[in-house]
């Protein structure tokens, strides 16, 4: 479903990502891990089109995505969330979801007026369901900026789901969450996958990664150093070295899960 071939990104002399090959199969939860600065976020930004690649190709369900703008990739079916939450702070919770409804199906289903002016009853019902799923049913008219941290994370997750993606990129969705919230998030991720969405999860919190993913690729210094099931990756020596050999905070994160 998602094929990366020789994907590279250079910032000046720094090779943030250096020839990454990766393939994510339809319907799986794929983990992408690695120490800070190993190129995970760069990879996500290349896949969704925020950055232009220096070399290599991004292929999504057979289609080459190179050179396509982020909104075009979204319409092709790639959505994402952000490590540092990026909601529309002065829109309400409900409006945050509404403006994100840009899937081809939604565009085709709505007439000009309901697309650009008022929402149809069906749109309202669908968004209400999404809000319920995110446990935000009672907060629809709150401004996004007034939500608590955990609620903002759930809203961002719901906003990405509102675009009806086929592939969802999650950029450290568990950052700053409590153990309980992480468990809850794991359930949401599985739930979304079961509804047919392929998931690429970039995460530091190992208990989440090891708990939900089926395949994991490990990056270090912009290169893939390991690939396999969670069990294989945990036993991999190069991976252990990469984590233990870098800063204390990263080794802590790795140690926690291992």
């Amino acid at each position: 479903m998602l094929e990366l071939r020789g994907l590279s990104k250079h910032f000046g002399g720094v090779k943030a990502l250096d020839g990454l090959d990766l393939s994510v199969r339809e319907g799986e939860i794929f983990g992408l891990i690695g120490p800070n600065g190993s190129g995970k976020s760069t990879a996500i930004n290349l896949i969704c089109g925020v950055y232009a690649e220096s070399a290599g190709t991004v292929r999504f369900s057979g289609q080459v995505m190179n050179g396509k703008a982020p909104h075009e990739r979204l319409r092709a079916g790639i959505a994402r969330t952000f490590q540092n939450i990026r909601l529309f702070p002065n829109l309400t919770v409900w409006q945050n979801l509404w403006v994100a409804q840009n899937s081809p199906r939604d565009v085709a289903a709505q007439g000009f007026l309901s697309r650009w002016f008022g929402a149809t009853r069906r749109t309202r019902r669908e968004l209400a369901e999404l809000l319920e799923l995110a446990d935000l049913g009672h907060k629809g008219d709150e401004l996004a900026s007034n939500l608590a941290f955990g609620e903002q994370r759930r809203l961002e997750f719901a906003r990405a789901a509102a675009a009806r993606p086929r592939l969802l990129l999650l950029d450290e969705p568990a950052a700053g969450m409590s153990r309980q919230e992480i468990e809850d998030l794991g359930g949401r991720i599985r739930g979304l996958r079961d509804s047919g969405v392929t998931i690429l999860l970039v995460e530091h919190v190992m208990e989440l990664v090891m708990g939900v993913t089926e395949q994991i690729a490990v990056l270090n210094f912009g290169k893939k150093i390991a690939f396999g099931t969670p069990g294989e990756v945990q036993r991999n020596e190069a991976v252990q070295e990469a984590y233990l050999g870098t800063s204390a905070s990263d080794s802590g994160a790795a140690g926690e899960g291992a």
Partner: protein, 298 residues
């Protein structure tokens, strides 16, 4: 007592007229603000495009004797179209971070539009049909001029319409989403270029109304109005707080009202000097304007 009362009525009358006329400044300020809020760039052509729209409306009046409502509608549409052209010419293809290039391009376009107007009209002022010119409502000792009431009514109606679009329609919500978080907006599937173009058209529609109204209230359209209206619009935008719509509304009325106070006490020659002084005072003591935030237009 009699003298004092007389003077009180005079001054309040003057301020009231100024507030009413200030509604047009509010509209121009809102237009600058809309575009600044969306792109964090100044569109210097805005007042010129608004007046150019009014010229097109005037042409409709002169050549086919269109009724007032149609004149306003045509002015708005023409100005909206000019807004779209300005967006494509001065903003669309200039890199997002190059603020100076966009500013210079729009200043160039300002003079270009102005030149077109000067050439087609030979630079001479044209009479614009005044509306409700002879209507005068008596409220106690005060008189409400019909033309100014009309200005106020149209301003309020178009502002309410704009606010409705911005805060309730998906179109407006998308433009606000872009201004608040443009990276996230792109990744939510919003086409930023199209949304920005929409903002220019919306602002242009409003500007056309403001331009036609200014012309209707003053009774003439002249290329000489372009630069002062640009300056007033910018002053209103700064005093209101760059990017704040409520700020632009209040600042427009404030400038309109105070302008007449200056006019009353110091005469027409010194009026604009004091308006600029007001800007100066704001820049020194309250650089973020009345409503604060320089970041987001909400």
């Amino acid at each position: 007592m009699g003298d004092f009362w007389f003077e009180f009525v005079e001054i309040t009358q003057t301020i009231g007229d100024g507030l009413f006329f200030g509604a047009t400044y509010s509209l121009i300020g809102i237009g600058f603000t809309l575009i600044f809020g969306a792109m964090h760039k100044l569109n210097m052509t805005y007042a010129a495009a608004s007046l150019a729209g009014a010229y097109v409306g005037l042409a409709a009046f002169t050549f086919v004797n269109a009724p007032a409502l149609v004149v306003f509608l045509i002015s708005a549409l023409a100005s909206g179209l000019i807004g779209l052209v300005v967006y494509v010419a001065c903003f669309r293809f200039i890199p997002v971070n190059n603020h100076l290039a966009a500013l210079m391009a729009s200043i160039g376009a300002l003079f270009f539009i102005d030149e077109i107007v000067v050439h087609t009209t030979d630079g001479s002022p044209l009479t614009f049909p005044a509306m409700f010119e002879y209507v005068m409502l008596e409220v106690g000792p005060w008189g409400l001029r019909g033309d100014l009431l009309f200005v106020l009514a149209v301003s309020v109606a178009s502002t309410v319409g704009l606010l409705y679009v911005l805060y309730r329609s998906r179109l407006g919500l998308a433009t606000r989403a872009v201004s608040q978080q443009d990276v996230a907006a792109r990744l939510c599937g919003i086409d930023v270029h199209r949304t920005n173009a929409t903002t220019f058209v919306l602002a242009g529609l409003l500007g056309g109304v403001a331009g036609a109204m200014t012309a209707a209230a003053v009774g003439v359209l002249s290329p000489l109005v372009t630069v002062p209206l640009t300056v007033k619009g910018l002053i209103v935008t700064v005093i209101g707080g760059l990017g704040s719509i409520p700020g632009a509304i209040v600042a427009g009325l404030l400038v309109g009202g105070l302008e007449n106070v200056f006019l009353y006490f110091r005469g027409v020659n010194e009026r604009d000097m004091y308006v600029l002084l007001l800007l100066f005072v704001f820049l020194v003591f309250r650089p973020h304007g009345i409503f604060g935030s320089a970041i987001d237009r909400d």
